[in-house]
């Protein structure tokens, strides 16, 4: 139900934004016509989904509790995403090798690695290997950051 409402709103916003673009005519369609039609179709489909009582029941059964968090650890997913977001935000500042090391270390600890020493070793090895693969071998200009590597 929540998802259908979000999709309905997304369709509505698309329509509003499309109206600010030149619509043209059917003979010579402008930039806004196609997305305007798509927004309208999306709102219609989402409305059907919301209004269909049988589907609504199935959807609420699926989204409520039936999603299957194994041990109520949906918060771990949020922390996991938070770590990824932090790594993205710090990539330019700290540089790829350091961010790769810290990212691996944090994720390994989050997912239940027992000892810091083991995690640090795995993080160091994987960050080093990815640095050699991407930066040295494939010559991809990844951010150097303040360590300058």
């Amino acid at each position: 139900m929540v998802a259908s409402i979000l999709v309905f709103l997304f369709g509505g916003i698309t329509m509003l934004l499309s109206l600010q673009l030149p619509l043209g005519t059917l003979r010579m369609p402008g930039s806004g016509l196609f997305p305007l039609g798509l927004g309208l179709i999306l709102m219609g489909l989402a409305a059907c989904q919301i209004l269909q009582p049988r589907l609504r029941a199935a959807a609420s059964a699926k989204s409520g509790g039936g999603g299957g968090t194994a041990d109520g650890s949906a918060h771990r997913v949020l922390v996991f995403l938070g770590i990824m977001a932090l790594a993205t935000a710090l990539l330019d500042l700290l540089g790829f090798p350091l961010v790769a090391f810290l990212l691996m270390l944090a994720l390994l600890q989050l997912l239940g690695a027992r000892r810091w020493r083991d995690s640090a070793l795995i993080a160091l090895l994987t960050a080093g290997a990815s640095y050699i693969l991407f930066v040295r071998w494939l010559q991809i200009p990844l951010p150097k950051g303040w360590i300058g590597l």
Binding site: P29, C48, A59, V77, D92, L111, T126, L138
Partner: protein, 507 residues
């Protein structure tokens, strides 16, 4: 183009594919694909998307040879986990679990894996011949397609894909429209005006499809796995010992018919829109069970139950290249990613591609043949080696996959904004799994969106604003009638079901 002409071109293709450079890329693609297939959680879609940046320095032919290798390599690799640990490496291997795992429990993992490799090789090779000889005449026929036909075909493709993804048709259609809307971000493909960019230069080129693919299919899957308990994270997979690796003559005899039937089913299904390998494996399994003299063996380690579906999935995977190369319209997400890769390399697939880029088309076709041979050699003796990857615990594997997604994504354009899009799509992919929404229609629509809009607007311009053009052209009309049929199918099915229920209640 006649058969002899196709044969000559195929020979030229072998000349292209057997250069040392292309052979190496074919080998890399096949190995990486097998790994991608073996690793649960990293399917061919995310696998191909991740490797696209690695092809930037290559010419288009070598790039597509490598990326296509990942696709069909993943089909081979997916069977390994299905048989050994009853976990399909990718969705097309689900049917292989049923009898493959039973065979493994009986100590016959070796023959099961070997028959997978042999069946996949035979099916892949035959399907490639089909691709080589069917694609050129189909391309000539497709030259008659104008914008209305292409538009109607794409609408048909989305509706069929939405119908066969397994979940709710309405939800799948919603995701296809969301994908089309996301595809309108960036420059208007007709006028060049910026659209929904909010003044940001980095959005002018549109939303990077690689970021969406990795987010929805790679990170979304990892996030679902992250929810699992600490015990699951710690678990190491117990890979059964291999008593013998090679199938007996009796195994081969029993499998031959299943392999050939699976090849035919897979090829036919691969030509139509939808997740072809998944449908093909299911259809093949059902056919084998139905025609078997001992259907009770199925589910208890029948080798035909492994040979048929595995052949069907490889054959479907090769046949799926026909709509991609001939029409420029992929019918499934992995080929949609390949379309994106072709566009990045400056190749616009369509009816004229075979004549304009014969080296690429025939080189890729020939490389698939070589790739299948490489995979046969690789899979038979090295299966135990690949199986060892499964011994890495998830708590180490998941961060590794994330690091690879993170680095691979940044490498595409060197834009931080792509990483944010990838993370956003990862969260979206996770929620979509929770709410039972399909990601495949969204991704396909995102990639095909600009093409569809151009075809739609050109059709209106040709007809001076009349929608009747879509009904006036016979090919377009057929596709639209087909679309209507697929849209009404759930309603008809529901009505028939309630009618039969009422009839039973009365009786």
């Amino acid at each position: 183009m006649d058969v002899l002409g196709s044969f000559q071109h195929l020979l030229t293709g072998f000349g292209v594919a057997t250069t040392l450079e292309n052979l190496s890329y074919c080998l890399i693609g096949a190995i990486v694909g097998t790994l991608v297939g073996v690793l649960p959680g990293l399917g061919p879609i995310a696998g191909i998307a991740l490797l696209i940046p690695a092809t930037f320095g290559l010419n288009a032919t070598s790039a597509i040879i490598m990326l296509a290798g990942i696709y069909y390599g993943a089909m081979y690799g997916g069977s390994t986990t299905s048989i050994l640990i009853n976990v399909p490496g990718e969705t097309a291997s689900v049917m292989t679990c049923i009898d493959g795992y039973q065979m493994a429990k009986q100590g016959r993992a070796g023959p099961a894996l070997a028959i997978c490799a042999i069946g996949s090789f035979v099916a892949g090779s035959l399907a490639i011949l089909g691709l080589a000889f069917l694609a050129p005449p189909l391309a000539e026929a497709a030259l008659a397609f104008g914008p209305p036909e292409f538009f109607a075909l794409m609408v048909f493709g989305f509706v069929v894909l939405s119908n066969v993804t397994g979940g709710s048709l309405l939800k799948a259609l919603m995701m296809a429209v969301v994908g089309l809307i996301i595809g309108t971000i960036g420059m208007d493909p007709v006028t060049g005006n910026p659209r929904f960019t909010f003044g940001t230069v980095s959005l002018l080129g549109g939303i990077e499809f690689v970021a969406v693919a990795i987010g929805l299919f790679g990170i979304g899957e990892v996030l679902v796995n992250v929810e699992q308990s600490a015990e699951v994270m710690e678990q190491r997979v117990l890979v059964p010992r291999f008593r013998d690796l090679y199938p007996t003559l009796q195994d081969l005899k029993q499998s031959l018919g299943a392999i050939l039937r699976g090849t035919g089913i897979g090829f036919g299904v691969g030509l139509v829109p939808g997740p072809a390998p998944v449908i093909a494996t299911y259809a093949s399994y059902m056919v084998e069970k139905r025609i078997s003299k001992h259907p009770e063996r199925f589910g208890h380690g029948a080798i035909e139950g492994v040979a048929g579906p595995e052949s069907a999935n490889n054959s479907a995977c090769q046949a799926a290249f026909i709509p991609l190369f001939v029409l420029g319209i992929p019918f499934a997400p992995p080929t949609a990613i390949l379309l994106g890769a072709l566009l990045i390399h400056g190749i616009n697939p369509g009816p004229t591609m075979i004549s304009e880029h014969p080296d690429l088309f025939w080189g890729v076709v020939a490389s698939m043949y070589i790739g299948n041979f490489v995979l046969l050699l690789l899979n038979l003796p090295f299966v135990p080696l690949f199986a060892n990857i499964l011994r890495i615990p998830k708590k180490v594997l998941l961060p590794l996959v994330m690091l690879f997604c993170f680095t691979g994504m940044y490498s595409v354009n060197n834009f931080i904004v792509d990483l944010w899009v990838m993370l956003g799509c990862g969260a979206l992919g996770y929620l979509m799994r929770k709410w039972a929404y399909e990601g495949a229609p969204l991704l396909l629509a995102l990639i095909l969106g600009p093409k569809m809009e151009v075809a739609f607007r050109q059709s209106l311009m040709i007809s001076h604003g009349g929608f009747a053009i879509f009904l006036a052209r016979p090919v377009s009309l057929v596709f639209l009638l087909g679309t209507l049929m697929f849209l009404l199918m759930p309603l008809i099915k529901g009505a028939l079901r309630s009618f039969s229920r009422r009839a039973t209640a009365k009786a």
